[in-house]
C-alpha cells in the first residue's frame, strides 16, 4: 500500500436551497475541488459519489455517472456508495483504497444530499429507511427516537444529564456561527438548548441536526505525486470502516458503538498514533448524545465521561481537544450523503490554516468520525501534515 494525500477540497454552503437540484450542488462542489487541486476532469481516474437517498428525495437514480459526466469526467469508473449518514465517509474510504493499492492515481469523491425538496414528515420517513424497517421502524421509531433511547440508557448507566447534552449543542452553535458555509449561524444559550421543543424524550429540537441541502468534495492522489497539484497536501495517515447491526435492539449495549471502536482502533494503528495525540476532530453529532458517545468510543474520555468532558470545555474551540470547529452536523448542517466528505474538508481547512475566524492553533493531526444509522457503519479518518 502506498501513502495517499488529499490534494483538493471543495464545498457548497449548507442550507435550504430552493431551486437548486442534487446535480447542481454536486457539480459545484466537484468543480471547486478540481480547481482547488489544480486538476482537469480528464486527469481523474475514478469517481465516487457518496449519497444516501437521492432516489427517494429527488426520484433520480444512477447518480454517479449522472454527476460525473456533468463535471466533464468521461469514461472512467463512476460509483455511488450508500451507507446511510456515512455514505460519503464510505465513498472516501473506498477511494482511498483504490489509490493506496495503485488501481487509480487521481480520484474525485463527492458527497451530496438534496433533502429540502420533501416536507419534514416525509424526510423523517426517508431517514428512517436507514433503520430496521421490519422491526424498530414499523413500531414507530424515528431516528431521533432511536438516539433518544440511546441517550436515556446512557443517562441511566452513567449519570449523563440534560445539561451535558445541551453543552454539545451550545458549543457547536458557537462554532457554526463563525462558519460562513454553515446553515444555522446562530449562537444559542444553555437555557435555550435545555428548553427546545420536545422531539423524542429526552431529546429536543436543539439536540437534533438539521435538514439540509449541500455537497462536498475531495480529490485524492498518491502522496508522492501530491506536490504536482498543491503546496499544501494533507496526508491520510489512517482510515478504516467498520460495521455492526442495523437494528438497535440487536446490540448488546446501546451506550457504545462497536463500529466506532473498531474503525478507530484500526485507524489509530495505521497512523501510529493514539487518542491523546489527536489535536482536533470533526465528530458525527447527528444528535448531541452521538457526540458524547463518540468522545468516549474514540478514547478521548472514559466511558460515561463524554458529557463532563464537554461541560468542562475540553472540546470547545479554545479547549485542548477542539471538536466540530465547523459547527458540526448540528449547526453547519447535515446533508446526509455529504457529511463524511464535508468533515474531511473542514479538517483540511484547519490543517492548511484556512479556517478563518474558527482557526485553532494546533492543527497538524486531525480525526474525522462519520457514523451511519444508529452505528451500523462507521468510518474514522486520521489526517496529518507532519
Amino acid at each position: 500500500m502506498r501513502p495517499v494525500a488529499v490534494i483538493g477540497i471543495g464545498k457548497t454552503p449548507f442550507g435550504a436551497f430552493h431551486g437548486r437540484d442534487l446535480r447542481s450542488l454536486a457539480v459545484e462542489a466537484g468543480e471547486k475541488c478540481l480547481k482547488n487541486g489544480h486538476t482537469t476532469p480528464s486527469q481523474v481516474d475514478a469517481f465516487f459519489l457518496g449519497n444516501f437517498a437521492g432516489p427517494s428525495f429527488t426520484g433520480q437514480n444512477h447518480l454517479a455517472p449522472y454527476v460525473s459526466t456533468a463535471l466533464g469526467i468521461q469514461g472512467v469508473p463512476a460509483t455511488r456508495v450508500e451507507a446511510a449518514c456515512a455514505s460519503s465517509g464510505s465513498a472516501f474510504f473506498h477511494a482511498y483504497a483504490g489509490v493506496a493499492s495503485g488501481v487509480y492515481d487521481l480520484v474525485l469523491v463527492v458527497g451530496v444530499e438534496k433533502m429540502t425538496s420533501q416536507p419534514t414528515p416525509r424526510v423523517t420517513e426517508i431517514l428512517a429507511g436507514a433503520g430496521d424497517c421490519a422491526g424498530e421502524i414499523k413500531a414507530g421509531s424515528t431516528f431521533a427516537s432511536l438516539f433518544a433511547m440511546i441517550a436515556r440508557r446512557h443517562m441511566y448507566q452513567f449519570g449523563t444529564t440534560r445539561e451535558h447534552l445541551a453543552a454539545v449543542a451550545v458549543k457547536n452553535h458557537a462554532n457554526g456561527a463563525l462558519n460562513p458555509d454553515a446553515q444555522m449561524r446562530k449562537v444559542i444559550t444553555m437555557e435555550q438548548a435545555m428548553a427546545g421543543k420536545p422531539i423524542a424524550d429526552p431529546l429536543n429540537l436543539y439536540d437534533c441536526s438539521l435538514i439540509s441541502d449541500g455537497a462536498a468534495a475531495v480529490l485524492l492522489a498518491p502522496a508522492e505525486r501530491a506536490g504536482e497539484f498543491t503546496d499544501k497536501p494533507v496526508r491520510i495517515l489512517g482510515v478504516a470502516q467498520a460495521s455492526d447491526f442495523v437494528a438497535l435492539d440487536q446490540k448488546p449495549d446501546i451506550t457504545t458503538f462497536p463500529s466506532v471502536r473498531l474503525a478507530s482502533a484500526k485507524a489509530y494503528r495505521m497512523a501510529g498514533v493514539g487518542p491523546a495525540d489527536i489535536q482536533l476532530a470533526e465528530l458525527h453529532d447527528c444528535f448531541t448524545i452521538a457526540e458524547i458517545i463518540a468522545i468516549e468510543d474514540l478514547g478521548f474520555a472514559p466511558r460515561g465521561g463524554g458529557g463532563p468532558f464537554t461541560l468542562a470545555g475540553h472540546s470547545a474551540r479554545t479547549g485542548d481537544k477542539p471538536i466540530n470547529t465547523s459547527g458540526g452536523l448540528k449547526s453547519k448542517g447535515h446533508p446526509v450523503g455529504a457529511t463524511g466528505v464535508a468533515q474531511i474538508c473542514d479538517l483540511v481547512l484547519q490543517m492548511r490554516c484556512e479556517a478563518g475566524e474558527r482557526q485553532v492553533p494546533r492543527h497538524s493531526l486531525g480525526l474525522a468520525q462519520n457514523l451511519g444509522g444508529s452505528g451500523a457503519t462507521c468510518v474514522v479518518t486520521i489526517l496529518g501534515t507532519v
Partner: protein, 71 residues
C-alpha cells in the same frame, strides 16, 4: 420463560414523527429485554414506563408487539 413478559431496557416518548404515526403523537416506544431472552422494540400502551419497569405483551398488531406496565 416467557417471551410475553420482560423488563424495559430503554424508552422514549415521541412527539415528532412520520405521517404514518402522526395521529398517535405523543406515543411511547421501548426496547424490552424479554424474559425468554433477546430484545424487541415495541409500543407501550397506558401508563408511561421507565427503565427497569416490568411489562407484559398485551397484543401484536401487524407484527409489532404492544406492552403494558405490570406491577
Amino acid at each position: 420463560m416467557s417471551d410475553a413478559t420482560g423488563t424495559i431496557y430503554t424508552e422514549t416518548v415521541i412527539y415528532s414523527t412520520t405521517e404514518a404515526f402522526a395521529a398517535d403523537v405523543p406515543y411511547q416506544t421501548a426496547i424490552v429485554s424479554l424474559d425468554a431472552g433477546g430484545r424487541v422494540t415495541g409500543r407501550i400502551l397506558g401508563e408511561r414506563v421507565s427503565i427497569d419497569d416490568r411489562v407484559a405483551r398485551v397484543e401484536i398488531r401487524d407484527g409489532v408487539p404492544f406492552f403494558r406496565k405490570i406491577a
